[in-house]
């Protein structure tokens, strides 16, 4: 028979068998047809209806075979849906074990279909899933279990929302590895928040089955599930027995991680729950301190303190760059003044070093109106995180006795207060700022309100506080363009990520009522912030806003897409943004849409250069600048050569604001990179200087270049853009801050919000007393790759700490000693005292080029020595791309509580030789303790460091009296 089949030229004969009366003949025909479908499907498909009729004939014994033949024919025709349904009808005849392309294709299709149907069920529509389809998928699962391909089961079960299967897979394979896989790589990719929650719950459940559960992972899940009570329970359980130091330490570690990854609201609730739980139990002294420490960590005070310490100790700002820029920029022009303000603010962000301002009092005094506002607010960026001294620092600028004398600097001070307390708004600060909203009346009130609103927004970011939002709404309703704008922004910040129905409704209604474009623009941004991370839940609103005729409301839709899908890489969102980027009639919308791509793809930066390559050459300058920013945001800190290759030509663009955008984007990308790692850095830096020094360059380009100089060396060269936390979680305040920063385009003061997106890159390890011990981790790569970029004054690279303190103390002494000296003399004194070699070095190396050469010669000499693994000390810089080379040294005294990789952020270590005297790193920050404590004579700083590093004296901006 087989021979006959091979020589067959047509299936016509076999097909005619189907018309026979005899069942036996029909069966024979079908059986033969089944064998030749591959060759004669074109012919058989003409008679497919006959075969279908046979299948539908209930009395036909071999109807399943008919279904199989029909299924194969439909498969050949490319009708996979029909092929699948007939294959399901074929029952046992359809064998999963066969490895033909037919079976593979049908099974793949079955799984796709199943996933799709489950997805529809999930969204509420009642679709019945064919039992047989389910059976096929079940059989697939079984096969995977047999062959131990758990990874596949995990993937399919999550997509198909089959949590029961997921649970089974998790418990049957290598559970810990699978749990980590799901948590790290799968959860964030789930598009539906609902399912995400279910999966997280399941993870917690599985975790808790262990005898020694991984509490860190659990707490991370719980923070995402937003269940502070359970977290508090676990933490309480861990610290319940104070004698078990291991557990206490891991509780500390969890608390540090929670502070880095969870929202402000969440940690606050955890603290209150913890404290209430404590009150029930009897008072135990040691437990009390533990708990106090725990809540301090959760509140973020400890992290901030450590970061401040780190940033201050390692500050590597190159003052020469700043001084030069300051000289070149015409300070009488407001935009130029702003530029230098930003450059200074970013360079010193979080370092508390405000020498530049002290040294350039005259320059400072030239600021007028809003430039003064920005300049004052810059203090907030510089002292970011210094929550203990916030009020004291700003005392000179805050209005006295509720009467306003100079509204711009006072408004700026309010804003600065908010920035200092960003995301850590204490009761005192928020109530003070709220009061400020209502206290001041009169013609200057709106400037003060503007500052207070922005401050309140920064301090209360993501807190979801009803009280604050009420206060802000009432300011918004006063319908003043200046204060209303800030109120709308602040409202968005306070309610960030909450998707609060009433707030959104109010904002939308008011956006249509008001006539002030500024307010509508701010509301659009605010709505975007409120939708942060809500993914599909924001779709309805986005649809509605996209329909609007008012371009500013469409802008709101773009912001909402950007924020709702931030970091998800969601294809639908990308498609939408790309469509808007090329089709919208309004430039603002197009620019924002392209910029939004950067936010959405920030976890997969390698995709962005290809995506925006064409857009970066658009005829429309707004699209060009948008693509530059998208690259900057997504590739921040990566030094991606592809991105740099696109951006470099843009520095020569004919349109000034494109040059500005490209400069800033390059600064983001090349942050913390040195020439050994990315040779382009030097050229880009030189280019900035060139733009600033070109006499006839547009002032906007100069502004961009100056700001970029600040960004590329931000935080004393010790911070990076951290839109994700060290653990890889999306950081809401950082993303919000970055979005607000991009709005400097329309309102300069918003540039300061970049401070929220900066993350110190430090190796910080603390012991049980939350003090940093002297210890090291080893790095197995070439040291040169991670060195600080060479700077003009710096002669010795190896001893940074000493220099930093020396400069500061001398300055302080010199200041105290000769108060009357002019600023210029002071600088000279400080510089000579600190680095005597500087002058001669400068003489022999006339230009920047020579410096590079000398530097490289030196490194060449040293290279042989540094190729060996080297130690990275506690409280020093640890670059993100350095982490993969890092290891905790074996057999050292301190062992990290959380095993595994060395990561940025705070690590808690266990002392293996408890009882022996510890060598602690002394605090370099003079004003480590509160004023009151210092008065009480128990200053830790004084005890820790014998050097006379007293607090710098307060100084006041020499703003003249002003009439606003």
């Amino acid at each position: 028979m087989a021979v006959q089949l091979d020589t067959l030229n047509s299936a016509g004969g076999l097909l005619s068998l189907l018309d026979e009366e005899e069942r036996e003949l029909q069966y024979y025909g079908l059986a033969q047809l089944d064998l030749v479908t591959d060759r004669f499907w074109t012919e058989i498909s003409d008679s497919i209806s006959k075969i279908e009729i046979l299948y539908e004939d209930e009395s036909f014994e071999h109807r399943q075979l008919a279904a199989l033949v029909a299924s194969k024919i439909y498969f050949h025709l490319g009708e996979f849906d029909d092929a699948l349904s007939f294959a399901l009808g074929a029952g046992e005849q359809f064998s999963l074990k066969e490895s033909s392309t037919y079976v593979q294709t049908i099974v793949n299709h079955a799984i796709d279909k199943y996933i799709e149907l489950r997805g529809q069920q999930d969204t509420g529509s009642s679709v019945a899933i064919d039992k047989r389809l389910e059976a096929v998928v079940e059989r697939m699962f079984e096969r995977c279990f047999e062959t131990k391909e758990y990874g596949q089961v995990v993937g399919i079960s999550i997509e198909a929302r089959r949590l029961d299967v997921l649970e089974r897979a998790l418990s049957s394979g290598d559970t810990r590895a699978l749990l980590a896989y799901v948590q790290k790589d799968c959860v964030d990719l789930i598009s539906s928040i609902h399912v995400q929650t279910q999966v997280q719950e399941l993870l917690v459940k599985v975790h808790l089955r262990f005898d020694e559960p991984d509490y860190e992972a659990i707490c991370l899940c719980l923070s995402k599930l937003n269940s502070p009570s359970k977290t508090a329970e676990i933490l309480g359980h861990l610290v319940g027995d104070a004698s078990d130091s291991e557990r206490v330490l891991s509780a500390y570690q969890i608390a540090f991680d929670l502070n880095a990854n969870a929202t402000q609201e969440f940690t606050r609730t955890v603290i209150t729950q913890l404290e209430s739980g404590q009150q029930k139990q009897d008072d135990d002294e040691s437990e009390n301190t533990t708990l106090k420490r725990l809540s301090a960590i959760l509140q973020g005070d400890e992290t901030l303190k450590l970061y401040l310490e780190f940033l201050f100790r390692n500050n590597k700002t190159d003052m020469n760059i700043l001084n030069r820029t300051c000289k070149m920029m015409d300070s009488r022009v407001s935009i130029a003044h702003n530029a230098v303000t930003f450059a200074n603010a970013f360079m010193h962000a979080g370092t508390t070093v405000d020498n530049f301002l002290r040294d350039n009092l005259e320059w400072l005094s030239r600021a007028s109106s809003w430039a003064k506002f920005t300049a004052t607010a810059a203090l907030g960026v510089i002292h970011h995180g210094q929550i203990k001294h916030g009020f004291n620092l700003l005392q000179p600028y805050l209005p006295l006795d509720n009467t306003s004398s100079s509204p711009f600097s006072e408004g700026g001070a309010f804003f600065a207060l908010g920035l200092i307390h960003a995301c850590h708004g204490t009761e005192k600060v928020t109530s003070y700022l709220q009061e400020a909203l209502v206290t001041y009346q009169g013609q200057n009130a709106e400037i003060l309100q503007h500052g207070a609103c922005l401050g309140l927004g920064a301090a209360g970011m993501g807190s979801g506080s009803e009280e604050m939002s009420r206060a802000l709404t009432s300011v918004l309703y006063s319908d003043s363009a200046v204060s209303g704008e800030a109120a709308a922004l602040a409202l968005g910040m306070v309610m960030m990520g909450s998707r609060h129905e009433a707030t959104i409704r109010d904002m939308l209604v008011y956006a249509k009522e008001t006539e002030h474009e500024k307010i509508i623009r701010a509301l659009a941004l605010g709505i975007g912030l409120v939708m942060f991370g809500r993914k599909q839940e924001a779709d309805e609103l986005i649809e509605r806003l996209l329909e609007e005729k008012d371009a500013l409301l469409r802008l709101g839709a773009v912001h909402a897409i950007t924020m709702a899908y931030c970091g998800t890489g969601d294809n639908a969102a990308i498609r939408r943004l790309l469509h808007l980027a090329v089709s919208d009639v309004k430039d603002d919308v197009r620019r924002a849409a392209v910029t939004g791509l950067g936010f959405i793809l920030l976890r997969s930066p390698e995709q962005v250069p290809r995506m925006v390559e064409l857009l970066s050459e658009s005829f429309n300058p707004h699209v060009r600048v948008g693509s530059a920013l998208a690259l900057g945001i997504a590739c921040a800190g990566t030094g991606s050569p592809a991105a740099v290759a696109i951006l470099e030509p843009m520095l020569k663009d004919a349109v000034d604001f494109v040059v500005e955008g490209a400069s800033i984007a390059l600064a983001f990308i090349l942050m913390q990179q040195n020439e050994a790692y990315e040779p382009k850095v030097a050229e880009v830096r030189r280019r900035y200087a060139e733009i600033i020094e070109t006499k006839n360059a547009e002032v906007v380009s100069k502004f961009g270049a100056a700001m970029s100089q600040g960004i590329i060396d931000a935080g004393g060269r010790n911070v990076t853009i951290g839109l994700t936390t060290a653990a890889g979680q999306l950081s809401a305040p950082a993303c919000g801050g970055m979005l607000l920063f991009t709005q400097f385009w329309s309102w300069f003061p918003l540039g300061h919000f970049l401070a929220l997106a900066l993350r110190p890159t430090a190796l910080i390890a603390v012991n049980g007393d939350l003090r940093a011990p002297e210890m090291e981790a080893t790095c197995s790569a070439r040291k040169q790759l991670f060195a600080y970029p060479a700077k003009v004054e710096q002669a010795v690279v190896q001893a940074p700490t000493k220099i930093a303190t020396a400069v500061l103390s001398t300055t302080a002494k010199a200041k105290r000693g000769a108060g009357g000296k002019s600023a210029a003399e002071e600088v000279a004194a400080a510089a000579t005292a600190a680095v005597p070699a500087e002058k001669e070095k400068e003489e022999e190396e006339g230009s920047g080029m020579d410096v590079d050469e000398a530097g490289s010669k030196k490194t060449a000499a040293k290279k042989a020595a540094v190729d060996a693994p080297f130690g990275v000390g506690n409280m020093t810089r640890l670059l993100p791309y350095q982490e993969k080379y890092m290891k905790w040294p074996a057999g050292s005294r301190y062992v990290p509580v959380k095993g595994g990789r060395v990561t940025g952020g705070v690590t808690v270590v266990r002392d293996t030789r408890a009882g022996e005297p510890e060598e602690l790193i002394p605090s370099a920050l003079a004003d480590d303790t509160d004023e009151e404590e210092a008065a009480a004579g128990q200053g830790a700083a004084a005890a820790g460091s014998g050097e006379a590093t007293a607090a710098p004296e307060a100084f006041e901006y020499p703003f003249g009296s002003e009439q606003a």
């Binding site: 060759r39 074109t42 498909s45 392309t101 004919a654």
Partner: protein, 496 residues
């Protein structure tokens, strides 16, 4: 300097022998380099997953073919080895070497890793060697191995190479006259190519299958296959031309003349009219002429004057003349004279269908010439058997809309209706529309097939830079002039 005589002779001999060897040596070494250069293109294409590099390598194949030597190919293959996890590739390399009669020496340690595409490329060269050496059986065997490898390796970059391998696979089976054996594996390959969206291979397989069916005159099967599959839109032109030709043939046989004419016409236009494509052009035009005649049109005289077409189309030219005049006897005579030729061209069936058209053409010319003519005269003019026959034929022609006339049965004559003005109708409009659409499609297709090399425009940036600089200088000059004009004003501004 004096040399002993012997030394001189020796020297001469050595130079001579050098001279003898050298051309051969140069000849082969150039080829090794040629092959490796093409392989480099392949590897670049694989690395960048850019198909056009691979096409570039394949374009050189026809040039290589003429000078290819088995030992050179063996030499090149020996420098490659399959990576450990690809058993298929190493098997394939081995059978390539065996088939071209080279030793399968142990590959050197420094051997480069052989990608499946590269192995397939070597296979293609080996196929050509065997085909040119008339070693068809071995060629068929090797082809089987290669085809098996294609189905087991599914990579998009394999597409262009695989499509050519399939072509020669089918070719081997055709020359040994076992085409039907290849059919089922071609069918399977088509399925795989469709599922993995290997477009070029799919296009190739479709044309090969159509050819396969037509070889056995299975027009029904061929038509069904064409109806149930879709030809990939972005297939290479040569494949498209072939596909269109086969479609035209099938449709002509199945009486769908207008569609057939459209496809054949397009086929002639897709293929360039030059010496390389002469064979194809001749074949297509033969069918095209007959289909034209069957449609009732008379092909342009100029067509038969084209140099490459003139001789082969001579019988068709005479046939056309017979049809044009409507002379049945002349027609019969031509058909009889060239019967063998038509049979060879596989168009005899179509030619025999032309008899009707000859009569129709006659009737039409009569109806144009005479406003009234008796049936008897028609009978005489067309050499028909009887007046009754003539009456039937005219009636049929009227019904088919060939002529616009009425028959007076009583008095036995045909009366033509007034000829109306075609230009008053919308016919010209339709004709123009058809042509315009054709032109527009052609334009769109050529725009689509253009390639823009990436990054080329960056060179212009340098110029743009200069332009900006000039502009800036110009602005500066202007500013300076301003400054000269109102120094006082500026000074005042500064004070403020």
């Amino acid at each position: 300097m004096t040399f002993p005589l012997g030394g001189v002779v020796f020297k001469l001999a050595s130079t001579l022998s050098d001279g003898d060897i050298e051309p051969f040596y140069v000849y082969t070494s150039v080829q090794t380099v040629d092959i490796t250069r093409n392989v480099k293109f392949l590897e670049r294409g694989i690395a960048a997953s850019e198909i056009h590099y691979i096409h570039r390598a394949l374009r050189a194949v026809s040039a290589l073919r003429k000078r290819l030597q088995p030992d050179v190919l063996g030499e090149v293959i020996a420098t490659y080895s399959a990576s450990t996890n690809q058993q298929v590739v190493s098997d394939c390399l081995k059978s390539i070497l065996e088939s071209v009669g080279q030793h399968t020496g142990a590959s050197a340690a420094s051997a480069k890793v052989c990608e499946p595409e590269v192995a397939m490329y070597f296979g293609l060269l080996a196929q050509l060697l065997l085909l040119d050496g008339n070693e068809y059986e071995r060629g068929a065997q090797l082809s089987n191995v290669l085809v098996a490898m294609v189905s087991s390796t599914q990579r998009r970059t394999l597409d262009p190479v695989a499509s050519r391998v399939f072509f020669y696979y089918s070719r081997f089976f055709e020359v040994v006259d076992r085409l039907s054996d290849a059919r089922s594996s071609l069918m399977n390959a088509l399925q795989t190519a469709t599922l993995t969206s290997m477009k070029e291979t799919k296009a190739m397989l479709l044309t090969l299958l159509l050819r396969n069916y037509m070889h056995y005159k299975l027009y029904d099967q061929a038509e069904r296959l064409a109806a149930k599959t879709s030809f990939p839109a972005d297939a290479p032109n040569n494949l498209l031309a072939r596909y269109l030709y086969y479609m035209g043939r099938i449709e002509a046989i199945q009486l769908n003349y207008s569609q057939a004419q459209l496809h054949l016409l397009e086929a002639t236009r897709k293929a360039p009219l030059n010496a390389t494509t002469a064979g194809f052009q001749q074949t297509v035009h033969k069918v095209c002429v007959i289909v034209d005649l069957l449609m009732g049109n008379i092909p342009e005289r100029s067509l038969f004057r084209i140099p490459i077409l003139r001789k082969p189309l001579q019988p068709y030219f005479e046939l056309t003349q017979a049809v044009r005049v409507g002379d049945l006897s002349q027609f019969q005579e031509v058909v009889h004279r060239y019967q063998d030729k038509f049979l060879q061209d596989q168009v005899l069936v179509l030619v025999q269908r032309l008899r009707h058209n000859v009569i129709k053409a006659g009737i039409r010319s009569i109806s144009v010439a005479y406003s009234r003519i008796s049936l008897r005269d028609i009978c005489l003019k067309l050499h028909l058997d009887s007046e009754e026959d003539a009456e039937y034929i005219v009636a049929k022609a009227i019904r088919d809309g060939v002529i616009d006339a009425t028959i007076d049965h009583e008095k036995g004559f045909v009366k033509s209706a007034e000829i109306h003005n075609v230009y008053a109708t919308s016919d010209p409009q339709h004709a123009f529309d058809k042509r315009i659409t054709f032109c527009l499609n052609l334009y769109n297709e050529s725009v689509k097939s253009m390639r823009y090399p990436g990054g080329d425009h960056r060179k212009e940036l340098a110029y743009a830079d200069e332009a900006i600089k000039r502009e800036r200088e110009f602005a500066q000059e202007l500013e300076n002039e301003d400054f000269d004009d109102d120094v006082d004003g500026d000074a005042m501004d500064e004070d403020l």
